[in-house]
Symmetry: C2
Subunit: 309 residues, 2 copies
């Protein structure tokens, strides 16, 4: 989308930083998206700032009309201080990201873990205005984010939501453990990477596996059945523990899950007696950047601010 | 303890209602316990009120000096409205407990799920003043309570913390599911009841099983090893999801767990890379009633109230 600039409006920026690309979204007022750009960058912070500046320039919005920027980073983020404690995929450690960005911009900035920012995006832009949400992002790895009592649960040291480390007794019997910075036991079973490995043996990509499943390919059926059961099992246990109103399944793999969503619902209802709604994300890979906008929209709403205040 | 009555003090009552007994605790000011009585009752609410009145009478405290009462009930409780939605062990359904009690007493009353009240007790009286706590009560069944961001997580319909329903792939393979009002799949493995069943085959009670384990009885070792691993597994998965600062193990069985607490810590550290402190409850079966007192102490503290305001 290309921008137009309305002189009366307030603008907010959402940024989702990935290993090779940065997604930048600019929205007007209550969240009307006016620009959306995916820019290839290295994890060099100067290159990322350049990309943000290019996007702002393309929108024709003067800096003083920009209200805020929310930035999502994969990894462990001290969101109070805006410090990236550890981001293995970006190779950032103890990076004072908010401080660096504040030297470039005058508006308020928040830095959060990307999955935590995504659930905020899902709540605002996905129409899930609940106080108890569980968001699971199934992509290369698996991450999750929790909203309880209307607040993000970050845990005692910003490590909550690490569902990739969830482990079963059969993992222990196979000698598996979970180690920091390594792919977790749950991710080894339920992730795009796991599907890609299993699919490669048959010559299929993960999306092709789901198509083959719908075509009742007997070699693919057990792979997808197992994936479905493992995912449902994790969801059911989350429901028993947290009793969220809704489970949102996002991440890259979610786009292929339409064909198994009813099976996931069926299994989950068998595995926990606590009722829950299970939906696929409508925002896909844009949830994080949209969350960067939604974060400040929520803040201004809770402060009772009105448009163009 | 028998009461003494100080004319300058404020008094708070904590009540933990069980299937056959009610524990009533009265504390002075910042939580000095002056009376503690366990009274045998039926789940007849009039009998329970009579027990509370007897306890107040024994304390010599005039009703107008009593500040508050916090009541814990096993089961699903709408804590906002003070309604017991469903308590299978008391056979109460849709009971407007707070309203009934308010007709008898002039002071503020809160009604909560007993395990949720217990974690509030553990936080105040157990010296665990953290904002992210997971409390697991291993007794006849298994319950849990979550404090995240300093608040109890009750979930979207007051069903959070139902760790008894946590299920593993091996349960599914054995054809187990979880049904409302039935003993959960996790409870079938890790609870006093599960230990009692396994112990009965060898002629041991659950506490005796732990003594035999310390004596290296080869028939008992696999039972306790399996119990330890299953409990550690559940704790590790909670840690990966919620990143609490502390896990507190309470409930009747916790009294016997001193001999395996280090093994639980060892397994948990293997199963999740996220660090956590694991402790046994110091309050035992009194945590719920103490939580009834602590709830209002916390409230008054957060309102900045001072003694004898």
């Amino acid at each position: 989308m290309r921008g137009r600039f309305d002189n009366d409006s307030a603008y907010r920026i959402g940024v989702d930083i990935g290993g090779t690309k940065v997604l930048i979204v600019i929205a007007e007022d209550e969240g009307d998206i006016i620009i959306k750009e995916k820019i290839r960058t290295s994890p060099d912070i100067n290159e990322i700032i350049k990309a943000i500046n290019t996007c702002i320039k393309n929108s024709n919005i003067p800096n003083q009309r920009i209200d805020s920027m929310g930035v999502g980073v994969p990894g462990m983020v001290d969101s109070k201080e805006g410090i990236v404690i550890d981001s293995p995929s970006l190779k950032w450690r103890e990076l004072k990201l908010r401080q660096i960005l504040e030297q470039c911009y005058q508006f308020p900035i928040v830095v959060k873990n990307d999955v935590n920012l995504a659930v905020i995006g899902e709540r605002w832009f996905g129409g899930n205005h609940n106080d108890n949400i569980f968001y699971i992002a199934v992509g290369t790895g698996v991450g999750s984010a929790i909203i309880a009592n209307g607040q993000i649960v970050e845990g005692s040291c910003y490590s909550a939501g690490e569902i990739g480390y969830v482990i079963g007794k059969e993992d222990i019997q196979l000698g598996r453990t979970n180690n920091s910075l390594e792919f977790g036991t749950f991710e080894q079973k339920v992730s795009g990477t796991a599907l890609a490995l299993k699919g490669a043996e048959l010559g299929y990509t993960p999306p092709e596996l789901f198509l083959q499943y719908q075509d009742k390919n007997p070699k693919v059926i057990p792979i997808i059945k197992d994936f479905t059961l493992e995912l449902s099992l994790a969801i059911a246990n989350v429901v028993s523990l947290l009793n969220p109103e809704i489970i949102i399944i996002g991440g890259g793999v979610a786009q292929s899950l339409d064909c198994i969503i009813d099976e996931i619902r069926y299994h989950t209802a068998k595995l926990t007696p606590i009722a829950v709604r299970i939906e696929l994300s409508k925002l896909g890979g844009e949830a994080g950047a949209l969350g960067g906008i939604a974060y400040f929209l929520e803040q201004s709403k809770s402060k009772g601010r009105v448009k163009n205040e």
